[in-house]
Amino acid sequence: MKGGLLFRGWKTLTSRGFFSLNDKSLRVCVIGSGPAGFYTAEKMLKAHERAEVDILDRLPTPFGLVRSGVAPDHPETKIVVNQFSRVASNERCSFFGNVSLGSDVSLSELRDMYDVVVVAYGAESDRSLGVPGENLKEIYSAREFVWWYNGHPDCRYMAPDLKCTDTAVVLGQGNVALDVARILLRPMSELQTTDIAEHALVSLQESTIRKVYLVGRRGPAQAACTAKELREILGMKNLQVHIREADLVISPADEEELKASRIQRRVYDLLCKSATSHQGHDFAGQRELHFIFFRKPDKFLPSEDQSRVGGVRLEKTCLKANGLSGKQVAIGTGQFEDLNCGLVLKSIGYKSVPVDGLPFDKYRGVVPNVRGRVLSSDQPENVNIEQGLYVVGWLKRGPTGIVATNLYCAEETVASILEDIDNGLIASPSGSPKPGRQGLLQALEDKNVRFVPFGGWEKIDSKEKLEGQLRNKPREKLTTWDELLKAALG
């Protein structure tokens, strides 16, 4: 490996050639290789002909949530990796997988090495409900469950028990909630030809879960999902959809909300249509999907033998106008009901995790910024711009939006970078050029970190596709750190 590192270093040095000698390269480091990171790299390379972009990721594999978040039965959404791979093959772009921010290299080290550092590492934790019983067994965040079925190496051994119950409760009604519900309810024949992780496929094959409840604090006019995902699950074969008709009655305030949002209007219409079309049909043995509106979790109840979760106590809610935002919020009514279940997936939002040296707004869970420029303080009276430090993606605007949202988000951050270059705000104060990639290679070598270059990922990719072919799947994901590193570096 050492030889490999040295060779790589030499190659990089010579390929930089002219620009290096003139010290005019713009050395850019993007931390995180999901859509936000790759769109930023692409736009940076396009906008600045002397930009050299290094993309770091803590995993040996690139593409972030396109690999570990997008559902296995949504292959079209993953096509965007073709575009990202073309970015990675640009000679001014390099990928450094298996490099962890904080432990392998610190943010301040990276800022010393690069003219521009863009943090794009997203949101790898979860919001918590903060209600009693949240630590009972078989309560997971939807993120963990998604990572598990998508073969993320950090959830390889999660092993949710899908055999002890016929009922799962999903808290939340956004697209992630619909994804996990769909995976739990989808016929095996439709899942086994996707790139779902093999361990998850085996477990789902043995699953006894037949009913999934999707619980939302507010009503059908406020459901957080998009029409595409809703249409898909409502149209699933052999699935009985239950929506209480009383819940579909809307208030004048709801009507105002619907008028103001095309997407909410279309989601509401789909729910209404589904409620009427499913009336009167009752087929035995069908799987069931229940939409539960106007309920919020009050506490989790243990199973009879106390070993795991046995149910959720829900409080009925009603909506009250929030004067400031115009949105309606859910208020508890003091009426409760229990819902028995053996599995709970909390799909109430992702949360970003701060790292040393990075300003962080704990309340909002984002890095304080102005159009992508990181601010050193979130106090309005004492704001400084952190020179050369930028943010993009979920870390910048919070964990919402689709893949394409990052396109516009990256455009904004890159526009800020270019503006700052034009205004001379990026030049290093000492005047001497920063080491860029060479500095990073040196630091990784000093710490004996074996990074995975893009070529290493391509080896993983080929191996996965080859193994997938044998099972009639687009790929068979490697799901442990060991397997991934062996395939990439072995």
């Binding site: 079209e76 279309r266 939006g401 689709i402 516009y408």
Partner: protein, 188 residues
Amino acid sequence: MKIMQNARVQADTDTNRLLINWLLSNRQISTIQRDLKTGPFSPFLYPMGKFCFSNAANGQTTEGDGKDKETISVTFLDKDGEEKVIKVPVGMSMLEAAHENDIELEGACEGSLACSTCHVIVMDVNYYNKLEDPTDEENDMLDLAFGLTETSRLGCQIVAKPELDGIRLALPAATRNFAVDGFVPKPH
């Protein structure tokens, strides 16, 4: 579908008008005319699966040598308001045509109707009305498009046909919309 269209918010119309005014005021005089390459599709656009539109149309050749397909003229207005007029063979989608002509129209899902990045705005409502109504699936994607207007469509779903000769398509001014209109991203 009709109900949905009628109920579209006033804000959309305002955005549309602002956008179009802005585009017009910024329009540059340079108009580049380019002939469409007659070669095969770019490798990028090749694997388009079920939504791949063939550019071959029987009996529609107009020139003696039989090599050139019937084409229509399409004008793209880019994010800076700059115009580019291209020839598009009948049967080809605007996404493919844009990419063959180096127009920076994104196409994250390569025409498989799984994203909204090839969003274009039809600049003339008469042309918009000549298009087939968008399917539910296209509307689902348009829900998520930036700077949606009354005449927004996905570039991958507009297929060149003779009636569309002279159509003008604007790329949404993405950065402006993101920063100025206070867009609130929809939950994932």
